[in-house]
Subunit: 131 residues, 2 copies
DNA sequence: GTAAACAGTGGAGTGCGCTCCAAGGTCAAG
DNA sequence: CTTGACCTTGGAGCGCACTCCACTGTTTAC
Protein backbone atom coordinates (compact mmCIF):
# COMPACT_ATOMS: atom_id res chain seq x y z
CA UNK A 1 0.00 0.00 0.00
CA UNK A 2 1.14 3.57 -0.60
CA UNK A 3 1.63 6.30 1.95
CA UNK A 4 -1.79 7.90 1.56
CA UNK A 5 -3.62 4.68 2.26
CA UNK A 6 -1.43 3.92 5.23
CA UNK A 7 -2.05 7.43 6.48
CA UNK A 8 -5.79 6.90 6.27
CA UNK A 9 -5.69 3.54 8.03
CA UNK A 10 -3.51 4.76 10.86
CA UNK A 11 -4.64 8.34 11.25
CA UNK A 12 -1.02 9.47 11.04
CA UNK A 13 -0.06 12.20 8.57
CA UNK A 14 2.05 11.37 5.53
CA UNK A 15 4.71 13.64 6.93
CA UNK A 16 4.70 11.78 10.22
CA UNK A 17 5.01 8.46 8.41
CA UNK A 18 7.94 9.71 6.32
CA UNK A 19 9.50 11.05 9.50
CA UNK A 20 9.10 7.69 11.21
CA UNK A 21 10.75 6.02 8.27
CA UNK A 22 13.70 8.43 8.42
CA UNK A 23 13.99 7.70 12.12
CA UNK A 24 14.19 3.97 11.39
CA UNK A 25 10.85 3.15 12.98
CA UNK A 26 9.39 1.82 9.79
CA UNK A 27 10.62 0.30 6.57
CA UNK A 28 9.29 0.40 3.06
CA UNK A 29 10.48 -0.60 -0.34
CA UNK A 30 10.16 1.59 -3.36
CA UNK A 31 8.12 1.05 -6.49
CA UNK A 32 9.89 1.72 -9.80
CA UNK A 33 8.38 5.21 -9.78
CA UNK A 34 9.99 5.96 -6.45
CA UNK A 35 6.83 5.70 -4.38
CA UNK A 36 7.03 4.01 -1.01
CA UNK A 37 5.28 0.67 -0.69
CA UNK A 38 4.25 -0.52 2.74
CA UNK A 39 3.14 -3.99 3.77
CA UNK A 40 -0.11 -4.60 5.61
CA UNK A 41 1.80 -5.22 8.83
CA UNK A 42 2.67 -1.51 8.89
CA UNK A 43 -0.87 -0.72 10.05
CA UNK A 44 -0.88 -2.63 13.35
CA UNK A 45 2.73 -1.66 13.92
CA UNK A 46 1.91 2.03 13.60
CA UNK A 47 -1.15 1.52 15.79
CA UNK A 48 1.17 0.12 18.39
CA UNK A 49 3.59 3.01 17.90
CA UNK A 50 0.79 5.52 18.36
CA UNK A 51 -0.37 3.86 21.57
CA UNK A 52 3.14 3.69 22.96
CA UNK A 53 3.70 7.34 22.03
CA UNK A 54 0.52 8.46 23.78
CA UNK A 55 1.73 6.66 26.86
CA UNK A 56 4.91 8.66 26.96
CA UNK A 57 7.41 6.40 25.22
CA UNK A 58 9.77 8.29 22.95
CA UNK A 59 10.27 7.32 19.33
CA UNK A 60 13.82 6.41 20.29
CA UNK A 61 12.59 3.94 22.88
CA UNK A 62 10.11 2.44 20.48
CA UNK A 63 12.71 2.25 17.73
CA UNK A 64 15.16 0.60 20.08
CA UNK A 65 12.65 -2.00 21.07
CA UNK A 66 11.76 -2.64 17.44
CA UNK A 67 15.42 -2.93 16.49
CA UNK A 68 16.04 -5.35 19.32
CA UNK A 69 13.19 -7.46 18.02
CA UNK A 70 14.68 -7.52 14.56
CA UNK A 71 18.20 -8.26 15.68
CA UNK A 72 17.22 -10.95 18.13
CA UNK A 73 18.08 -14.50 17.22
CA UNK A 74 14.76 -16.04 16.39
CA UNK A 75 14.48 -17.92 19.62
CA UNK A 76 11.38 -17.86 21.77
CA UNK A 77 13.49 -17.26 24.85
CA UNK A 78 15.15 -14.08 23.58
CA UNK A 79 11.87 -12.62 22.41
CA UNK A 80 10.16 -13.49 25.65
CA UNK A 81 12.93 -11.73 27.54
CA UNK A 82 12.58 -8.63 25.37
CA UNK A 83 8.86 -8.48 25.92
CA UNK A 84 9.28 -9.12 29.61
CA UNK A 85 11.57 -6.11 29.76
CA UNK A 86 9.07 -3.88 28.02
CA UNK A 87 6.26 -5.20 30.19
CA UNK A 88 8.30 -4.32 33.27
CA UNK A 89 8.61 -0.73 32.03
CA UNK A 90 4.90 -0.59 31.38
CA UNK A 91 4.15 -2.02 34.82
CA UNK A 92 6.37 0.58 36.44
CA UNK A 93 4.59 3.34 34.63
CA UNK A 94 1.25 1.89 35.67
CA UNK A 95 2.37 1.83 39.28
CA UNK A 96 3.26 5.51 39.05
CA UNK A 97 -0.14 6.28 37.63
CA UNK A 98 -1.72 4.30 40.44
CA UNK A 99 0.17 6.39 42.99
CA UNK A 100 -0.91 9.63 41.30
CA UNK A 101 -4.45 8.37 41.17
CA UNK A 102 -4.59 7.43 44.82
CA UNK A 103 -3.15 10.80 45.80
CA UNK A 104 -5.90 12.47 43.84
CA UNK A 105 -8.56 10.19 45.24
CA UNK A 106 -7.51 10.81 48.80
CA UNK A 107 -7.69 14.52 48.14
CA UNK A 108 -11.09 14.14 46.58
CA UNK A 109 -12.47 12.85 49.87
CA UNK A 110 -11.19 15.67 52.07
CA UNK A 111 -13.15 18.85 51.66
CA UNK A 112 -10.26 21.26 51.69
CA UNK A 113 -7.02 20.84 49.78
CA UNK A 114 -6.82 24.61 49.33
CA UNK A 115 -5.97 27.17 51.92
CA UNK A 116 -6.13 30.92 51.28
CA UNK A 117 -2.80 32.69 51.80
CA UNK A 118 -2.22 36.15 53.36
CA UNK A 119 -1.34 37.49 49.94
CA UNK A 120 -4.77 36.65 48.67
CA UNK A 121 -3.62 33.73 46.56
CA UNK A 122 -4.65 30.21 47.37
CA UNK A 123 -2.12 27.43 47.17
CA UNK A 124 -2.08 23.74 47.78
CA UNK A 125 -1.59 22.91 51.40
CA UNK A 126 1.67 21.02 51.65
CA UNK A 127 0.94 19.61 55.06
CA UNK A 128 -2.24 17.85 54.02
CA UNK A 129 -1.05 17.03 50.50
CA UNK A 130 1.62 14.74 51.90
CA UNK A 131 0.30 11.55 53.36
CA UNK B 1 12.84 29.15 50.88
CA UNK B 2 14.88 30.39 47.90
CA UNK B 3 15.18 28.82 44.51
CA UNK B 4 18.37 26.86 45.18
CA UNK B 5 16.91 25.12 48.18
CA UNK B 6 13.71 24.32 46.33
CA UNK B 7 15.80 23.00 43.47
CA UNK B 8 17.66 20.68 45.84
CA UNK B 9 14.49 19.40 47.49
CA UNK B 10 12.70 18.74 44.23
CA UNK B 11 15.54 17.71 41.96
CA UNK B 12 14.39 20.26 39.40
CA UNK B 13 16.86 22.76 38.00
CA UNK B 14 16.61 26.42 38.89
CA UNK B 15 15.95 27.14 35.26
CA UNK B 16 13.10 24.66 35.19
CA UNK B 17 11.57 26.19 38.31
CA UNK B 18 11.79 29.70 36.84
CA UNK B 19 10.27 28.36 33.65
CA UNK B 20 7.40 26.78 35.59
CA UNK B 21 6.80 30.08 37.32
CA UNK B 22 6.67 31.92 33.99
CA UNK B 23 4.20 29.32 32.75
CA UNK B 24 1.97 29.99 35.74
CA UNK B 25 2.53 26.61 37.31
CA UNK B 26 4.03 28.00 40.47
CA UNK B 27 3.88 31.25 42.42
CA UNK B 28 6.42 33.01 44.57
CA UNK B 29 6.71 36.32 46.27
CA UNK B 30 9.84 38.39 46.13
CA UNK B 31 12.14 39.39 48.96
CA UNK B 32 13.18 43.09 49.05
CA UNK B 33 16.36 42.13 47.21
CA UNK B 34 14.35 40.65 44.35
CA UNK B 35 14.97 37.02 45.21
CA UNK B 36 12.08 34.60 44.82
CA UNK B 37 10.67 33.19 48.04
CA UNK B 38 8.78 29.89 47.91
CA UNK B 39 6.58 28.38 50.59
CA UNK B 40 7.09 24.84 51.84
CA UNK B 41 4.03 23.69 49.89
CA UNK B 42 6.00 24.24 46.68
CA UNK B 43 7.94 21.03 47.34
CA UNK B 44 5.04 18.54 47.32
CA UNK B 45 3.39 20.52 44.54
CA UNK B 46 6.48 20.22 42.33
CA UNK B 47 6.77 16.55 43.26
CA UNK B 48 3.26 16.15 41.99
CA UNK B 49 4.08 18.14 38.86
CA UNK B 50 7.09 15.95 38.16
CA UNK B 51 5.07 12.78 38.56
CA UNK B 52 2.29 14.04 36.32
CA UNK B 53 4.90 15.12 33.73
CA UNK B 54 6.54 11.69 33.70
CA UNK B 55 3.14 10.21 33.09
CA UNK B 56 2.65 12.23 29.96
CA UNK B 57 0.60 15.18 31.17
CA UNK B 58 1.67 18.45 29.59
CA UNK B 59 2.53 21.48 31.67
CA UNK B 60 -0.55 23.14 30.17
CA UNK B 61 -2.79 20.36 31.46
CA UNK B 62 -1.21 20.50 34.89
CA UNK B 63 -1.46 24.28 34.96
CA UNK B 64 -5.08 24.14 33.94
CA UNK B 65 -5.90 21.73 36.68
CA UNK B 66 -4.04 23.85 39.20
CA UNK B 67 -5.82 26.98 38.05
CA UNK B 68 -9.18 25.27 38.25
CA UNK B 69 -8.37 24.35 41.82
CA UNK B 70 -7.54 27.95 42.68
CA UNK B 71 -10.58 29.42 40.97
CA UNK B 72 -13.02 26.91 42.38
CA UNK B 73 -15.44 28.15 45.00
CA UNK B 74 -14.20 26.58 48.18
CA UNK B 75 -16.90 23.97 48.29
CA UNK B 76 -16.18 20.33 48.87
CA UNK B 77 -18.45 19.38 45.99
CA UNK B 78 -16.64 21.47 43.36
CA UNK B 79 -13.26 20.20 44.43
CA UNK B 80 -14.45 16.63 44.50
CA UNK B 81 -15.76 17.04 40.96
CA UNK B 82 -12.43 18.47 39.79
CA UNK B 83 -10.52 15.59 41.28
CA UNK B 84 -12.98 13.10 39.92
CA UNK B 85 -12.34 14.51 36.46
CA UNK B 86 -8.60 14.19 36.82
CA UNK B 87 -8.97 10.70 38.23
CA UNK B 88 -11.03 9.74 35.19
CA UNK B 89 -8.20 10.92 32.91
CA UNK B 90 -5.70 8.92 34.91
CA UNK B 91 -7.94 5.86 34.81
CA UNK B 92 -8.24 6.15 31.06
CA UNK B 93 -4.49 6.35 30.67
CA UNK B 94 -4.08 3.35 32.93
CA UNK B 95 -6.51 1.41 30.78
CA UNK B 96 -4.45 2.23 27.69
CA UNK B 97 -1.34 1.03 29.44
CA UNK B 98 -3.14 -2.14 30.43
CA UNK B 99 -4.06 -2.76 26.79
CA UNK B 100 -0.49 -2.18 25.66
CA UNK B 101 0.74 -4.45 28.38
CA UNK B 102 -1.61 -7.26 27.52
CA UNK B 103 -0.68 -7.00 23.86
CA UNK B 104 2.95 -7.35 24.84
CA UNK B 105 2.23 -10.17 27.22
CA UNK B 106 0.30 -12.15 24.64
CA UNK B 107 3.16 -11.73 22.25
CA UNK B 108 5.61 -12.85 24.90
CA UNK B 109 3.86 -16.23 25.08
CA UNK B 110 3.91 -17.01 21.38
CA UNK B 111 7.31 -17.98 20.14
CA UNK B 112 7.27 -16.05 16.90
CA UNK B 113 6.13 -12.47 16.49
CA UNK B 114 8.73 -11.99 13.77
CA UNK B 115 8.62 -13.29 10.28
CA UNK B 116 11.51 -12.98 7.82
CA UNK B 117 10.59 -11.10 4.64
CA UNK B 118 11.79 -11.85 1.10
CA UNK B 119 13.97 -8.74 1.24
CA UNK B 120 15.90 -10.16 4.13
CA UNK B 121 14.34 -7.82 6.68
CA UNK B 122 12.13 -9.13 9.41
CA UNK B 123 8.99 -7.29 10.37
CA UNK B 124 6.21 -7.73 12.84
CA UNK B 125 3.55 -10.05 11.60
CA UNK B 126 0.40 -8.01 11.31
CA UNK B 127 -1.87 -11.01 11.17
CA UNK B 128 -0.79 -12.41 14.50
CA UNK B 129 -0.20 -9.03 16.13
CA UNK B 130 -3.89 -8.24 15.90
CA UNK B 131 -6.04 -10.24 18.20
C1' DG C 1 -4.69 15.94 -23.39
C1' DT C 2 -5.49 18.08 -19.34
C1' DA C 3 -6.82 18.43 -14.67
C1' DA C 4 -6.90 16.52 -10.15
C1' DA C 5 -5.10 13.68 -6.92
C1' DC C 6 -1.26 11.63 -5.35
C1' DA C 7 3.74 10.93 -4.77
C1' DG C 8 8.70 12.59 -4.09
C1' DT C 9 12.53 15.85 -2.04
C1' DG C 10 14.76 19.40 0.74
C1' DG C 11 14.46 22.77 3.88
C1' DA C 12 12.29 26.01 6.96
C1' DG C 13 9.22 26.65 10.81
C1' DT C 14 6.65 25.35 15.21
C1' DG C 15 5.58 24.26 20.05
C1' DC C 16 7.15 22.21 24.07
C1' DG C 17 10.19 21.94 27.78
C1' DC C 18 13.69 22.99 28.96
C1' DT C 19 19.25 24.32 29.18
C1' DC C 20 23.04 27.42 28.84
C1' DC C 21 25.13 31.77 28.88
C1' DA C 22 26.43 36.63 29.73
C1' DA C 23 26.19 40.44 32.50
C1' DG C 24 25.14 41.98 36.64
C1' DG C 25 23.11 42.57 41.86
C1' DT C 26 23.24 40.63 46.97
C1' DC C 27 25.20 38.85 50.90
C1' DA C 28 27.89 36.14 54.43
C1' DA C 29 32.58 34.62 55.70
C1' DG C 30 37.37 35.47 56.29
C1' DC D 1 37.22 44.62 51.21
C1' DT D 2 37.59 40.95 48.40
C1' DT D 3 36.06 36.28 47.41
C1' DG D 4 32.61 33.15 46.47
C1' DA D 5 28.09 31.43 46.61
C1' DC D 6 23.82 32.68 45.48
C1' DC D 7 20.42 35.36 43.06
C1' DT D 8 18.45 38.35 38.95
C1' DT D 9 17.19 39.13 33.80
C1' DG D 10 17.17 38.51 28.86
C1' DG D 11 18.12 35.96 25.13
C1' DA D 12 20.05 32.23 22.43
C1' DG D 13 20.10 27.37 21.56
C1' DC D 14 18.58 22.52 21.68
C1' DG D 15 16.23 17.98 21.03
C1' DC D 16 11.99 16.02 19.94
C1' DA D 17 8.27 15.23 16.99
C1' DC D 18 6.43 16.78 13.89
C1' DT D 19 4.16 20.33 10.19
C1' DC D 20 4.21 23.18 6.26
C1' DC D 21 5.93 24.68 1.95
C1' DA D 22 7.71 25.01 -2.68
C1' DC D 23 8.75 22.66 -6.43
C1' DT D 24 8.69 18.59 -9.19
C1' DG D 25 7.27 13.98 -10.96
C1' DT D 26 3.38 10.21 -11.60
C1' DT D 27 -1.02 8.31 -11.98
C1' DT D 28 -5.99 8.40 -12.73
C1' DA D 29 -10.36 10.14 -14.51
C1' DC D 30 -12.81 12.54 -17.80
Amino acid sequence: MRIGELSEYTGLSRDAIRYYERMGLLESHRSPNGYREFGAEAVPWLDYVRTARRLGFSLAEITEHGAALKDAPDSAAALTALFAEKIAVVDERMAELARLRSELEERSGTGCPLRPQPGGTAVLDGATWRR
